[in-house]
């Protein structure tokens, strides 16, 4: 089994590379989630986003989440990469790729990873508008 791969990067995320990283001859399905920065947000036009992370803790938590998913759904491969710094509209801020023998497991595991990441991993998003900015709030 290929190891779990997690990372936090400052440049563009290459989805094709992540998809290749989880490929496995025994896998019949790969589920991928790509989170992209969007506009508008709550009615306001967003110019770009800035992400920051508590990097060592975020990496630890991403590893725990990915390992949990891998054992719970018997995944063949798991890859989760989050981008930080400035991210333009339409670009990927996060990519999750998982492969499994059957597609149900791949879909469920992919969903679990992104849902848990969004709730638990110490990464923060700031939306920058033409005037001012906002931290995604409670």
């Amino acid at each position: 089994m290929p190891p779990v791969v997690v990372d936090i990067v400052e440049g563009r995320i290459d989805s094709a590379k992540l998809i290749a990283a989880v490929s496995d001859p025994a896998a019949g399905g790969t589920a991928v989630f790509i989170g992209t920065t969007r506009t508008p947000s709550e009615g306001r036009e967003v110019r770009y986003l800035e992400y920051e992370a508590y990097r060592p803790m975020a990496l630890k938590q991403m590893t725990v989440i990915a390992e949990t998913a891998r054992s719970r759904w018997s995944l063949a491969g798991v890859c989760a990469v989050h981008r930080i710094g400035r991210v333009e509209i339409g670009e990927a801020s996060v990519v999750i790729a998982v492969s499994a023998v059957h597609r149900g497991a791949a879909f469920e595991a992919c969903r679990f990873i992104i849902d848990t990441l969004k709730k638990e991993v110490p990464i923060w998003k700031k939306e920058v508008f033409a005037e001012g900015h906002a931290w995604a709030g409670p």
Partner: protein, 82 residues
Amino acid sequence: MNAIRVRVFGKVREIVGAETVDLPAGPAETTATVLDALIGRYPPLEPWRQYLRVALNQEYVPMERRVSPGDEVAVIPPVSGG
């Protein structure tokens, strides 16, 4: 007297104006006393109190957890990655 260095992020970092804050450490500090001291020094954090979590050594911990010298302390506002 030791100091406790608190890492802050996101909205809290912005209010504090720095990535870390050194707080004087008493003999029986807990996550709750550290949070109280941080908010005492930066009152605009008060409305955020109910939303803040504390991590010790890169793990979320409950309030009232004892903080020992050398622990890595971080105040975590609501996360919004993804």
